[in-house]
């Protein structure tokens, strides 16, 4: 449902509910887009050569 739908009502119920949903979706979408872009940029800038171990995983050993 979008504000263009014929059933849409411009009242608080719809704004809050659909608003929060779209915010959540936007955050997820933005996160994904960011990751895509970052990956793309990293690859472009030649930083694809990471050490064979993923850093983050190495860190586990610390716990």
């Amino acid at each position: 449902m979008t504000p263009l739908s014929f059933e849409w009502h411009w009242n608080a119920d719809y704004l809050v509910f659909m608003g929060l949903l779209y915010v959540a979706l936007a955050v997820i979408g933005a996160g994904l887009i960011y990751t895509f872009l970052k990956t793309w940029m990293d690859l472009e800038s030649g930083e694809s050569e990471l050490p064979p171990e993923i850093e983050s995983r190495k860190k586990y050993a610390a716990y």
Binding site: L43, I54, Y60
Partner: protein
């Protein structure tokens, strides 16, 4: 044969043994597949659901696995948002369990609705006042989040990791996982709540109705609370089962004990609220409807045992057990307490679904009984099969337990 796909430095059984292990789960899936086909092709007349039991075993399974799958969002929240680092050794498992539970539940819902090809109407013609709309929105969005959380684990497969693009993508996803985890927590919180709200708002059914707090009935909060109290226990049970089957230690005790202790406290907190809620309900809603508490516990098998079992035996007992360090540190004690905790929560969901519908509201309406058909069991069992299968495959090929190598040095090959 497939050892090239295994995570580095761990030992896995032979393909033959693995294949044998998957057979029962594949069989369950086949049973479920046949059932699903029948239900979709011939319609829901294949079930024993009825105009009285509009919701039945599938919804019980749905709500149960979603409650139990709450380990994912809650562990994710603790790991990424709060920053409990010891949980990193179990977060992957929690995420996979969550993914299994949610994807299974959504698939089951797709069969449960009478017009699956219209399922998207919920989003398209959303009635924002319906708790089920809230559930659908949050569940589907959160399933997306879970998928996002699952992807990096897949990308860590030894062979996939060799592809730089993918490895980098996974790496980057990992980096901002906190954002997803936070969103997931938000979504999950609302749908766990609205699942409870679904029943609490049925004000014309005094057995389910609960008083409102702002726009949500108390069941909204109770469901969230009970889910985060039970979810971690289910995660513990799954890891313990994996450990038992693989005969390896996979997760350090500190992670498990932390979750168990937390569960104990959460469960206690939940029970306090649940008891208050039940008392308030029994003294306001119930008499207002012209009924006494015991009027609800007269029909068929749905006696007062439900309340005693849910709150007492499978509530207070496991809460106490989990709070006592000696008990929860005892392997058997831990398992029993976790099992009882999970049972209590499933029982709670069962009561809210089946007992609510079974207890007639009109004085002259009669009591009907319900037993699922093999098709209904088939689809429910397919969820179990699917869970075992996906978890087994993940365990075999993905570094689900990052500490596995460290905890099992002897096996390092």
């Amino acid at each position: 044969m497939d050892s090239a796909l295994f995570p580095e430095g761990v030992k896995r059984c032979s393909p033959k043994v693995f294949l044998l292990w998957t057979l029962p789960w594949l069989a369950l899936l086949a049973w479920g597949g046949l059932s699903a086909f029948l239900c979709l092709w011939k319609g829901l007349n294949q079930t024993n659901m009825s105009n009285i039991f509009a919701f039945a075993i599938w919804i019980v399974f749905d709500l149960a696995v979603i409650a139990l799958g709450a380990g994912a969002f809650f562990t994710g929240f603790l790991t990424y948002v709060i920053g409990r680092k010891e949980l990193k050794s179990i977060i992957n498992a929690a995420v996979i369990i969550g993914f299994i539970c949610y994807s299974g539940a959504v698939a089951m819902l797709g069969i449960d609705i009478g017009q699956p090809i219209r399922g998207w109407f919920i989003f398209w013609h959303a009635n924002v006042h319906s708790m089920l709309t809230e559930v659908s929105f949050c569940i589907s969005a959160y399933l997306g989040v879970l998928a996002i959380e699952y992807i990096p684990i897949i990308l860590e497969n030894r062979q996939i990791e060799k592809v730089p693009h993918l490895r980098l993508f996974g790496h980057n996803l990992h980096h901002i996982m906190g954002v997803f985890a936070a969103t997931g927590t938000f979504l999950s919180f609302f749908h766990q709540g609205s699942l409870g709200g679904m029943f609490g708002v049925m004000y014309a059914r005094p057995f389910a109705e609960r008083w409102d707090f702002y726009v949500w009935p108390t069941t909204f909060f109770l469901f969230v609370f009970s889910a985060i109290a039970a979810g971690p226990c289910f995660t513990i049970l799954c890891t313990k089962l994996t450990e038992a089957i693989s005969r390896k230690k996979l997760v350090p005790d500190n992670a498990v004990q932390f979750l168990a202790r937390l569960s104990g406290w959460l469960l206690s907190g939940y029970l306090v609220l649940k008891i208050i809620d039940t008392a308030v309900w029994a003294n306001t809603t119930v008499p207002n409807a012209g009924l006494g508490l015991m009027d609800f516990y007269r029909e068929g098998p749905y006696g007062i045992w439900m309340l005693i079992a849910e709150i007492g035996i499978f509530g207070i007992v496991p809460a106490v057990m989990l709070m006592i360090p000696q008990v929860r540190q005892n392997p058997a004690g831990l398992i029993v307490a976790c099992l009882m905790n999970c049972t209590g929560i499933v029982l709670n969901r069962f009561v809210f679904i089946i007992a609510t519908l079974a207890i007639p509201v009109m004085p002259f309406a009669r009591f009907w009984s319900y037993l699922p058909t093999w098709q209904e069991w088939g689809i429910a069992m397919a969820l179990v099969g699917y869970g075992f299968l996906l978890f087994s495959v993940s365990y075999r090929y993905l570094p689900v337990f990052p500490k596995e190598q460290e905890l099992n040095p002897a096996m390092n090959g």
